[in-house]
């Protein structure tokens, strides 16, 4: 059950678009910075396959310039 956090850098002028697109993705918490073009993204998925799919979805967003992982944890299922 992976939990990961990322720093997401939007394309120039696309911060609001990126926030809105990220908010529409499941298993994904979005914490935008108030004063910089940077968004913290926290993902919480059921398994590695879902995690990989989610990451690919985020990386496919046109408004995203760069996604940099900061931390990754795996918790037991029970």
């Amino acid at each position: 059950m992976p939990i990961k956090s990322y720093l997401a850098y939007p394309q120039d002028g696309k911060k609001d678009v990126l926030i809105s697109e990220l908010l529409n993705i499941s298993y994904c918490d979005v914490i935008p910075s108030e004063n910089e073009d940077l968004i913290i993204v926290v993902t919480e998925t059921e398994n590695q396959k879902q995690d990989d799919t989610l990451k690919a979805t985020i990386e496919g967003l046109d408004s995203l310039k760069l996604l940099a992982m900061v931390s990754g944890f795996n918790t037991p299922k029970n």
């Binding site: 956090s5 720093l7 914490i31 910075s33 004063n35 913290i40 931390s71 918790t75």
Partner: protein
């Protein structure tokens, strides 16, 4: 089971968020995530936001502390503070998390038969007062000493000074600000005759160039650096990083120029040579507002006990000074500074161009220097030659490390030579202090005694038999702790430590007093830009924790000085400040009244006719100036600042065949000084759990060292084992290693040298010779 798992997942998720926020903060100093902070607030809570200054560095950011049901639950930047405009760094953002640390000192502890025994505070204060008095009776008043802090509040520093100098009658009072900005003080006094920067942070909004001298502002003053970056992005202001090591500041700068340790002295002179040689001198300014002087040279380095030095200034003229600079042509200096001729000329051009506004910033790199006073003088020389001073966006600006190094250590004067106004050697200053303190003037000694390093040498020698430290951790922060730790452990000295958390210093104490933390008491701090900031007590502290000022007062009363300390427990901060304010009355240092300080997010002094003076010594802004002059350096009797002829002299210890590396020490963004607070904040501790030794990759490859490998760093004084760090946080030059000093488990100050600037007595933590071996 489910709840446990859920809690664990929530915790992990929280950690993931915190890790990301920490990473973001190191890349974007001052970044804020207010939404996330709001989410953590208690639901339905009746939250009250209370203003105050941040507990940590000398920038003095305004904070708002969210208090719910008597507990501090949130922190955010104060949008009304012109210092930080709502921004905070990663330390400021998490500061309140340390209050509830499990090992918080909540009660007095007295060592009995080798073990600490919890003792009622009143009883512990009886022991302290009796021991202090007994020591004075037996060995004289100069056998007792107090060592305070740039983290002490203004009232705490004031009461400490009054107790030691006014009541007891000894100048055995010094503070940890001696370790961080004493050279800035002597630099200001020798050049301008008045301490503290002439400008303010608003300079950032006006300058075209920021030149940082040995100053990693991205990590040490992140909110100010963030403001500089904003100006860089907004209007193309340029940041030039002049340093001995590549840091995050270098990486964010427009240009990074590296120099060989200690040769900043020569480069500064070379810049002045170029300014004169190219005709960039502001002749009218120099003719009207500047004198030229030289002082003694080959002063030594203070390495021996009881070292003494007094400078003897001699007046010279411009032609003498010009001739002196012939030794500092860019071509000559480039040979040993490792700064190219092109870069020296570039720096000179930036300063010399009459159409650019330049602010120079520095902190420990210039101050912790065996010629710290000189290098401060030399940077002032550059600004005086070009007349780029005391105007919006033009000026030299010495930053401080601690939240009240200016307000308490420098303005109240918790140094051996200082009084709340002026110095002990000046009869008029002693008379003023005696009048306000209501003590006989002859009780205040006219000679300074021990500066910080010499104070701990005196403890080691057995000359000081009682020492009381407050809000400071000298057995981690002093240089050459390999000598001073065993010194403090000796039976010959009774040690009292007042602090919030246990530290390696409290480990050697005979009595430990439980101090209130910042927001558990009312107080005032003074930051780097002469801004005095007041806050009211926000929450109750645990157990018998008590404000340091009140513990001083209680001990003073027990020693028979009660009539000099007629303050009430409830209002002592207000009563003390109103008494202290009398010392600074007038246009040159007038302080805002308390009712104004309570209302505003800090007020810059001099405060004259209801207005702050943002740029001193400039008649346009400073009512203390002679109105007939455009500039008036009124700290000097003739109103003229001094350009000092100061040569390059080498460091006392340089790398050789046995100890081939320079050792440079410093700080990291996550930790505040010796880490006693920030290492108790989980997110900061996890982000930077231990110290390390940075090497240049070529040196590492040559020695076959890989990242993380345990290395032993050894000097002639001691050694320290740390993991290697290659191409991580910072990048030292070849032949240099860097170690942060926050980690009490990896005491790099066992290795450092206790050489100091002979004028300021500030130690040099940036240069000594070491060898590096696999552990």
């Amino acid at each position: 089971m489910h709840d446990t798992l859920l809690n664990r997942r929530n915790f992990i998720k929280k950690m993931a968020i915190m890790s990301a926020m920490t990473a973001a903060a190191t890349m974007f100093p001052g970044i804020i995530f207010a939404d996330e902070q709001e989410k953590n607030l208690p639901e339905g809570g009746d939250l009250e936001w209370k203003k105050g200054p941040c507990r940590f560095c000398g920038v003095g950011c305004g904070v708002l502390i969210g208090v719910d049901k008597g507990k501090a639950v949130a922190v955010k930047g104060d949008p009304n503070s012109s210092v930080n405009k709502g921004l905070l760094c990663v330390k400021g953002y998490h500061q309140i998390m340390c209050i509830q640390a499990e090992d918080r000192l909540t009660h007095a502890l007295v060592k009995k038969n080798g073990k600490y025994v919890q003792t009622p505070l009143n009883e512990a204060l009886d022991i302290v007062a009796n021991k202090m008095k007994e020591t004075m009776d037996k060995h004289g008043k100069d056998a007792v000493a107090m060592y305070t802090s740039g983290q002490s509040t203004i009232p705490e520093g004031y009461v400490a000074s009054k107790l030691m100098k006014g009541a007891i009658g000894t100048n055995n009072l010094d503070c940890n600000a001696r370790l961080c900005m004493a050279s800035a003080v002597t630099g200001f006094l020798t050049t301008f005759g008045a301490d503290e920067p002439m400008g303010c942070y608003e300079d950032i909004d006006h300058a075209d160039y920021f030149i940082t001298w040995g100053n990693n502002m991205a990590e040490m003053h992140p909110v100010l650096f963030s403001r500089m970056l904003e100006e860089k992005n907004r209007r193309g202001a340029k940041i030039i990083d002049f340093a001995t090591r590549t840091t995050r500041s270098s990486m964010a700068s427009d240009r990074s120029i590296l120099f060989e340790p200690q040769t900043d002295l020569a480069v500064a002179n070379a810049i002045c040579y170029e300014i004169i040689n190219n005709g960039w001198v502001n002749k009218a300014f120099v003719e009207n507002h500047v004198n030229f002087s030289k002082g003694l040279t080959n002063m030594g380095y203070g390495l021996e006990d009881n070292y003494a030095f007094t400078d003897k200034p001699t007046k010279i003229d411009f032609e003498d000074y010009k001739a002196f600079l012939e030794d500092y042509t860019p071509e000559k200096v480039a040979k040993y500074s490792k700064v190219s001729v092109k870069d020296i000329k570039f720096l000179a051009h930036v300063y010399g161009d009459p159409n650019t506004k330049v602010v120079s910033y520095w902190c420990m790199g210039m101050n912790q220097h065996t010629r710290g006073t000189w290098i401060n003088n030399l940077v002032y020389n550059i600004h005086l030659l070009t007349g780029k001073i005391s105007q919006p966006g033009n000026g030299p600006f010495s930053l401080t490390g601690q939240p009240s190094a200016c307000g308490t250590a420098r303005e109240v004067g918790t140094f051996t030579h200082k009084l709340p106004h002026g110095v002990v050697t000046n009869a008029k200053d002693r008379a003023l202090a005696a009048k306000i303190w209501k003590v006989p003037v002859e009780r205040i000694p006219s000679k300074p005694t021990y500066h910080a390093t010499e104070m701990f040498r005196a403890v080691d020698r057995g000359d000081i038999k009682f020492i009381w430290t407050q809000a400071t951790n000298p057995l981690v922060s002093l240089p050459k702790t390999s000598r001073y730790r065993p010194g403090m452990e000796k039976e010959s000295c009774f040690v009292v430590v007042s602090d919030v958390f246990p530290t390696p210093t409290s480990d050697v104490a005979d009595v430990i007093l439980p101090a209130s933390w910042h927001i558990e008491k009312s107080g005032l701090y003074g930051n780097s830009e002469r801004r005095t900031q007041h806050w009211d007590k926000m929450v109750d502290g645990p157990g018998e924790t008590t404000p340091d000022a009140w513990m001083f007062i209680e001990v003073a009363k027990r020693m028979g000085y009660g009539d000099l300390f007629p303050y009430s427990r409830e209002n002592h901060v207000e009563e003390i400040f109103n008494e202290y304010r009398q010392f600074h009355e007038g246009a040159k240092h007038g302080m805002a009244p308390l009712e104004v300080l309570k209302r505003e997010s800090g007020v810059i002094w001099p405060y004259v006719d209801g207005k702050s003076t943002q740029w001193r010594f400039n008649s346009k802004y400073d009512p203390a100036c002679d109105p007939k002059k455009d500039f008036d350096f009124y700290g000097k009797p003739d109103g003229r600042a001094v350009i000092w002829q100061r040569p390059y002299e080498p460091a006392p210890e340089v790398p050789d065949s046995e100890y081939p590396f320079w050792l440079n020490t410093g700080r990291v963004i996550e930790h505040w000084h010796t880490g006693s607070m920030t290492r108790r904040i989980p997110v900061l501790h996890k982000a930077m759990p231990h110290a390390y030794v940075e090497l240049h990759p070529d040196d590492a490859a040559r020695l076959g060292i890989v990242n993380g490998e345990k290395l032993k760093v050894t000097s002639r004084r001691g050694s320290c084992v740390l993991p290697a760090s290659i191409n991580e946080r910072g990048l030292p030059t070849k032949g240099q290693v860097f170690v942060p000093f926050f980690d009490e488990n990896m005491l790099i100050n066992d290795v450092t040298l206790d050489a100091f600037c002979p004028i300021s007595k500030e130690p040099d933590y940036k240069k000594c010779a070491v060898k590096v071996e696999k552990a």
